[in-house]
């Protein structure tokens, strides 16, 4: 880029000269402004720190040593550089000595334990309606969310003895503390087995039992039943009025009670 004009401030000219010295010949003109800002901020930070250190040492003015300490401290915080080579080699040697773990066959999508995945819900809804305690079906508020975000795949496990291609689809169970629609035939909650038939709902597609599941639970392990799904209805409108439309009794269960899955954590 062209050298700054003679009328530019001296600092800018110096900065351009530094860039030229370091071999940077092509740059956008705004770079000089950015570099000057950075320089100003860096120097004032260092001098501020140095002032504190010299005051701590009960000195009247800032000393070279104060500045040195200030620089050192700042280097450790902001301008970290990658670890030194010997440390890297040591870490690498340690890691490389472990054998590559064997790969378990037929486990569907291979993902780390849920804690390390991003498949947990990152919000929860509060109900606006006062819950009615009634006998019968545990009914939770229904949640709705944008279809673009939610992932609901059924982890189906057709018998692998079939010659057909095995369909393994990821299940991402997005389960809310307060809102979940999960049908787990082997639910541990002592709920009656009232089922809401699909047909009775008409436009909505809320076919199954609404049970509570806890946040972050993903149901990936194959269950003995042929189908296990964690369903997230995307087409259901969020209001509780729907539940009343269904006219099923509602029971409140503790939304915070969590059913621990044994594949939640590292195996």
């Amino acid at each position: 880029m062209a050298a700054p004009a003679k009328s530019t401030p001296r600092d800018a000219q110096i900065m351009a000269a530094i860039l030229k010295d370091m071999g940077v010949l092509e740059y956008e003109p705004r770079i000089i402004n950015q570099m000057l800002e950075f320089t100003y901020r860096y120097v004032t930070d260092i001098l501020d720190d140095a002032k504190i250190y010299s005051a701590h040492a009960n000195k009247k003015t800032i000393d070279v040593d104060d500045v040195k300490i200030a620089v050192q401290c700042r280097m450790d915080h902001s301008f970290t550089s990658p670890p030194p080579r010997d440390l890297l080699m040591e870490i690498a040697r340690h890691k490389n000595n472990q054998q590559l773990p064997l790969i378990k066959p037929y486990t569907g999508p291979r993902l780390p334990p849920d804690r390390y995945c991003l498949s947990a819900p990152n919000y929860k809804l509060k109900s606006t309606k006062k819950p009615r305690i009634q006998f019968g079906l545990p009914m939770k508020q229904i949640n709705q969310f944008g279809s673009g975000q939610r992932i609901s795949l059924a982890n189906l496990k057709t018998s692998s003895s079939s010659g057909n291609p095995t369909l393994t689809v990821v299940t991402k169970a997005v389960s809310q503390p307060t809102v979940t629609i999960i049908s787990k035939p082997a639910s541990s909650l002592p709920k009656p087995t009232i089922r809401v038939n699909t047909g009775s709902l008409g436009s909505t597609s809320l076919p199954k039992i609404i049970t509570q599941s806890s946040s972050g639970t993903s149901i990936l392990t194959p269950k003995p039943t042929p189908i296990q799904t964690s369903l997230l209805p995307t087409t259901i409108t969020p209001t509780i009025s729907l539940s009343s439309a269904i006219s099923t009794p509602t029971i409140i269960t503790n939304p915070l009670k969590r059913k621990l899955e044994d594949d939640d954590y590292d195996k």
Binding site: P83, I103, T229
Partner: protein, 668 residues
Amino acid sequence: MEAMEGIESGKAPVKPDISEKQTLLAVLQFLKKHNLAETESQLKREAKLTDDDVATENSAPSESEVSHALAAYKSDDDPTLYGDIYTDLKAFVDSSLDVHKVELAMVLYPVFVHMYLELVYNGHESTAKSFFEKFSKDQEDYHQTDISKLATVTKPEHMKGNQLMENFKASKFVIRMSRDSYTHLKRHLQDKQLNLLLNIIQEHLFIDVFDGVPRNKQQIQLTCGGILGEAQREANKAKVFYGLLKEPDINVPLEEEEDPGEGDSSDKPKKKKSKKDPLLMKKSKNDPNAPIISRIPLPEIKDMDKIEKINMLRESSKKVKVDKDHPPSICFYTFLNSAHGVTCIDISEDASLISAGFADSGIRVHSIAPGKLRSVKTGLELELIDKDADDVLERMMDDKTGGEFKRLSGHSGPVYSTCFSSDRASMISSSEDGTIRLWSLQTWSNLVCFKGHNYPVWDVKFSPHGHYFASAGHDRTARLWSTDHYQPMRIFAGHLSDVDCLQFHPNSNYIATGSSDRTVRLWDVLNGGCVRIFTGHKSPVHCLGISPDGKYLASSGVDQIINLWDISTGSLVSQMKGHTDTVYSLAFSRDGGVLASGGLDNTVRTWDMNRVVDEMDTDVDASIPSTLQVVDNSNLLLGTYYTKASPVLSLQFTRKNLLLAGGAFVAS
């Protein structure tokens, strides 16, 4: 110790010499410190040392103690001492025989660097500066970038933070030299008693001696250029299993051969065997150079994979022959209106998807096959479909969500690399924020965020067999991950500077990395060790390509030259010159006959690999570098294809040998 020896040699009757004078001055200093005035004046008279010499001595800020006064001669401030020694060495090199001259000249650069560093380390700033100015211009061009970095180091405090300096100080610079040149050099050093130089050479240089004819300038030029010199012979000795893995037996249904009439003119035999591809034929026998299939754990072949393979074989059987007489057709995908945003482009292996990473941390995936991009139905809807139907995979997708492209957001810094998995169900991307993200291409969402590099990750690639992926970053390491572990499985450390690019070997057992330290290394996945070091690039390496048969590795970068390496021996096979700017992508054709390259000069160039293989010198002995012969003629360049103003960021041959290229239009 050395000081004592210096004095001994000083006492021996020799011609006036630098070290001689220096020793005397040191003795004088010692005497002065101990206030032995009479002895001092006597020595001065006898040695005929003028007062000026002494004065220059005294002006030197020597912070050494009395006991070290004699050792202080090593850290002397006399600029002429180091300068003299260096000029002396240069004169020696020039005066030696032509055969030895080039090899000995390689010593000059590391000696220059270490002398400068010693001057700086001992605090002689002005001397160091003058030494530097005097001799830096003499060094080769490709060292100039390192030298300009050296120039910023003027005080001992600077040395701590500077990575390049640490590399130099800590490791030895490797030079390969023939035995004759080496003995010549040793004799000279011992004759002249230049202890300073001897120390530097012994401490900081490693001279790998080989028995054979000294190399000529051209041969040396081919392999020098690495930050720390060349690779030692030992580095390239390990056995590398470069063959391809044995393919599982798949019955390829061949009944659907349409138009057998067309096949009359082609030379492909229309037998009813299941394997036509010559590559596959080789694999059916036991290749001694191939790793056993269980060397590293690989995912099992699922039914889906088998179908995929069958499709692949079927398409590959229709592939067009691409060679010198049949140049490939090139289809170029240009990203418009995003010139300063597109940082990387990747095309999937079956050429159905193209993804671009942007500087604003977004990723866009487009479909370049006829279908649209759909996402999977919601859980409720999936419940309702018939799982035993044949087209369950189609029914799974929600057509309402179909679109021409999908956007993926999640990173917090520019995305530097993306890669599709071989089954196109997932994709990984790496970014400046130090994370690698795994995206599902069925739900179009981010599944996992792998944190490990704390510095920008420059490149990321899936393994051809799935399940593993590798990343290369600014922290000078490459790492191997698997999708079901949140921590890396292997860390490949050894490069001296950022690792810029990475490629898996077709058998998934090896990973090649190219770095800013101008070397290319091949790592073994099984134990994380470096099995090959290829030096010869004169600038950072930005792209790599491995031939489909696994034998050759091509690399290129800022120096615009494509180097082709033989993996089995570790030697350079061919150099392809032609590009006029940095090369950013390389791709081999499916049968390995043509190498395509593209870069910042807005061109795609194709090179003749068949010719290289024919003209290659097959009985070259890697341990004797002077037998290196490189295929270098200009006939290797088959064609140059210009784009309007779009640097070529990605190249991929489809299964039918059509070349796809991707780039972003840069309106300047």
